[in-house]
């Protein structure tokens, strides 16, 4: 099951660049939460702070508290363990090109020490079913390379890979921006189904997508979170003029 995320006074830097400033936010469990804002506003940095990927960049650092479920992820737990609990899907699908579909999905499991074939088979099948790809690939799981799939299928395979390690949270950084409308629609349907089991945070530039998939939406601007509210409120009657200007396209 998904868990809630509680962010308190989160600040992040790239060297001297103060990229995130005083972010306070409660992300509800088993809901989809969308983060919107112009390029460079800090939304991707924010999600990377939720699985401690931000600090892997040279010169980058973060302060503040991020609680995922009962754990303070900057104190109570190792980054590797965090990334098992908090899966991530990126803008462009990133299959391991030399691996089969099966091995692509099982990669994280093997890294986490799983070696029993039956267990692996079972989890790979379940993950591909959860990512709505199983029926399309089940006959060629071990024969076909992950890179031979279409862009939309590759993205769903990457979602299966993220789900295979049984995370509590799924971070999605523009997961459909490189996909055609049909593949995008499949990813959005998937988000709708997956939030029953996981807490989903999705960064998107596509505001209609945020409106379609998320119950909550946060608007970021210049490293700050300007507004966080129910998605229908944000898109029909936002409280802050800067949010209104951005979502109506009058920003800048």
């Amino acid at each position: 099951m998904g868990v809630g995320i509680e962010v308190t006074n989160l600040n992040a830097w790239y060297g001297a660049n103060h990229a995130l400033q005083d972010i306070n936010l409660n992300i509800p469990a088993n809901h989809a939460t969308a983060l919107i804002g112009p390029s460079g506003c800090g939304k991707s940095t924010f999600v990377r702070c939720l699985n401690r990927m931000h600090e892997t960049i040279p010169g980058a650092r973060a302060t503040g508290t991020v609680r995922i479920g009962d754990l303070d992820i900057y104190k109570d737990i190792k980054p590797v363990e965090i990334r098992r609990r908090v899966g991530m899907v990126f803008q462009r699908p990133n299959p391991f090109p030399t691996m089969s579909i099966y091995d692509n999905v099982a990669a994280g499991l093997k890294l986490n020490g799983y070696s029993n074939r039956h267990v692996l088979d079972e989890i790979v099948e379940r993950s591909l079913k959860n990512s709505a790809l199983w029926d399309e690939v089940k006959d060629n799981l071990k024969k076909e390379s992950g890179a031979s799939l279409s862009g939309g299928q590759q993205q769903r395979m990457c979602i299966a890979r993220a789900l295979a390690v049984d995370p509590e949270v799924l971070l999605m950084d523009e997961p459909a921006s490189a996909l055609d409308p049909v593949s995008t629609s499949k990813i959005e349907d998937l988000i709708f189904q997956l939030k029953a089991q996981y807490t989903i945070v999705i960064v998107t530039h596509n505001m209609q997508q945020a409106a379609r998939v998320a119950e909550k939406t946060g608007f970021f601007l210049n490293g700050r979170m300007v507004e966080f509210d129910s998605t229908d409120k944000i898109f029909t009657n936002p409280s802050d003029k800067r949010t209104e200007d951005y979502i109506t396209g009058r920003f800048g």
Binding site: M207, F235, T236, N237, T243, I247
Partner: protein
């Protein structure tokens, strides 16, 4: 400022709606003038004007539909376009009400003049004022001004109720005046509807400007109070 084309389209939509509003307002005034003067040529103008309103109604709906489909408006823009669609329908119905009045005048003109216990010009003045004020609130995006219109509707409702009572009495006691009284009653009812449309326009303005849905506030509040009472007693 960005989205110049979209912004221009919104301005065009507003302008078109204001043209329709002008025609609707004029239709009510003409219909009442026709009533006062028993002038069939003015009735004819009202009928012709209604066609213009209908044509504009279709054009406005189409333009609004295009903007919804092509521009995916959000927030204030989305509320504005929704309000325009709804106000558009209200104005078309104001035009219908004016036509109803002018048709009644055609019937009345064939009958002998009669003194009836109803002040149609006064009712018309109030209803027209409400239409004018609601459109002014729309032009100025003034939710407070729109709110002040909501209470005016009660006065027109009361006048219509009084007219109904008085005219029924005329029908009962002076049966030879029944056709005249019936026509007057239908005119009174049409004016009461004009005031209702003005009220709806004012509510649409409030929704556009503030995002607040104030429709049916009395009945909704009453239901809420009843539910609250039920919960407390349970």
């Amino acid at each position: 400022m960005t989205r110049i084309r979209f912004q221009q389209s919104l301005e065009n939509l507003k302008e078109k709606l204001l043209v329709e509003a002008g025609l609707a307002e004029q239709a009510v005034q003409r219909a009442i003038e026709a009533y006062r003067k028993r002038d069939l040529s003015i009735c004819e103008l009202v009928s012709r004007g209604e066609i213009d309103i209908n044509i504009l109604e279709r054009e406005i709906d189409q333009a609004a539909l295009d903007l919804l489909a092509m521009e995916q408006p959000m927030a204030g823009d989305l509320r504005f376009i929704l309000s325009v669609i709804k106000i558009n329908a209200e104005l078309e119905r104001v035009g219908n009400a004016a036509k109803t009045i002018s048709e009644r005048v055609r019937h009345m003109e064939r009958m002998a003049a009669a003194e009836l216990p109803v002040n149609i010009p006064r009712m018309a003045e109030l209803a027209s004022e409400m239409v004018r004020m609601s459109l002014q609130a729309f032009i100025e995006a003034d939710a407070e001004a729109a709110r002040s219109i909501l209470t005016m509707d009660d006065a027109v409702d009361a006048m219509n109720k009084a007219a109904f009572k008085a005219l029924i009495k005329v029908m009962e006691e002076q049966s030879h005046l029944a056709p005249q009284a019936l026509n007057a009653l239908m005119i009174s009812r049409a004016l009461e509807r004009v005031a209702d449309h003005a009220t709806n326009i004012a509510e649409d303005v409030i929704f556009w400007v503030l995002g607040d849905d104030v429709r049916h506030h009395k009945s909704v509040n009453l239901l809420q109070q009843q539910q609250d009472k039920g919960e407390t007693s349970a």
